[in-house]
């Protein structure tokens, strides 16, 4: 082998080495680009998924909060309507209660037609209690203001009762020590009050017939409440 051949062979080897290196480098570049794209897509997708899930959760929470808020508002609204309903019914009862004063209003020193009406009412209230108690001797309490009217009708009430049930007239003892409270006044609206009527009891005090106008109003009101509500709210869906 001469020098020229040796030199030629070396050049070939050098070219081969470079070519191998460049092929290797190229291979690395290509696979790098593939890895780059795959890696990027995977990571991007993973991040997006995470973000999407996070925001879906947040949006669900917004929806939930929105529903809760509306539900609370709706509930408050319903309560408000129900409260208004109760208020109007209470105001009716109060109006009726105020009217009771007109029923029982009278003057001490003069008897008027109105007094006759209330006086007869008192008599009927007493008779009704006597019919319920069916006692030969009873205690009676009334307002101090009503005392003279009660005393005025006591005998005739006892007599009417006796005739109705065919017994001897009962003894009716009027309590001159303890009276029912007087009618209501604005300045002490929370105190006990009695708008009129009577309370009768058996002598031993065990059986009581409360026939005050206020007690009667309570009973009537409770009994008529469904009817009243139906008139007011029959067409209203609360």
């Amino acid at each position: 082998m001469n020098d020229a051949d040796v030199s030629k062979q070396i050049q070939q080897m050098v070219r081969f080495i470079r070519q191998e290196a460049e092929e290797k480098a190229n291979e690395i570049s290509v696979s790098a680009e593939e890895e780059f794209n795959i890696e990027k897509l995977q990571l991007v997708e993973a991040e997006k998924k995470k973000t999407r899930q996070e925001y879906e959760r947040k949006e669900r929470q917004v929806e939930i909060r929105k529903k809760i808020e509306y539900s609370m508002q709706l509930n408050a609204s319903r309560i408000k309507v129900l409260q208004a309903q109760d208020d109007v019914i209470s105001s009716m009862k109060e109006a009726a209660s105020k009217e009771l004063l007109h029923v029982s209003h009278h003057h001490h020193l003069t008897l008027t037609h109105h007094d006759h009406v209330y006086r007869n009412l008192l008599k009927d209230l007493i008779i009704q209690c006597l019919l319920r108690l069916k006692e030969p001797s009873v205690l009676l309490r009334c307002r101090k203001d009503d005392l003279h009217l009660v005393e005025h009708v006591l005998d005739s009430a006892a007599q009417e009762y006796a005739e109705k049930v065919n017994v001897d007239p009962p003894e009716i003892i009027v309590d001159n020590q303890v009276y029912l409270p007087p009618g209501p006044h604005h300045h002490n609206s929370h105190d006990l009050y009695c708008s009129g009527g009577v309370v009768l009891a058996s002598r031993d005090g065990k059986i009581v017939c409360e026939n005050t106008l206020d007690a009667r109003l309570d009973v009537v009101f409770r009994k008529k409440l469904p009817e009243i509500r139906n008139q007011l709210f029959g067409q209203v869906v609360a």
């Binding site: 570049s29 790098a32 990027k40 996070e54 408000k80």
Partner: protein
């Protein structure tokens, strides 16, 4: 054989081999760099996407605040209308009811 010539040939081969290593090494470095670049681009795109989602979310919130407000307002109006109707009904039948109650209170069965 000229000893210098032989030395030169081997030297050339060694140099070529070093250059080859360099080329491959560069390619590997570029790959590493590229992968890091991938992560950077991912972060940028993820941030972009998140920003977009946040905008949508804030829009949703402001819409909900608006619609929630309008819902509440409508509810209040409905409630007030109901109560107004209620008071109208009450005023119509109030004296009638009071009279009925009083009638029963004062109508005593004996």
């Amino acid at each position: 054989m000229d000893p210098f010539k032989g030395q030169g040939g081997i030297q050339m081969l060694l140099i070529a081999e070093q250059e080859a290593q360099h080329i491959v090494s560069n390619a590997r470095n570029l790959r590493t760099q590229r992968l890091k670049q991938a992560k950077d681009e991912v972060e940028r795109e993820a941030a972009q996407y998140r920003s977009h989602m946040e905008d949508e979310y804030q829009k949703l919130i402001s819409e909900n605040t608006g619609s929630s407000g309008s819902n509440v307002k409508r509810l209040e109006e409905e409630t007030d209308a109901k109560i107004k109707n209620l008071k109208k009904s009450t005023s119509k039948i109030s004296s009638e009811v009071v009279d009925m109650l009083l009638k029963y209170v004062t109508n005593i069965k004996t």
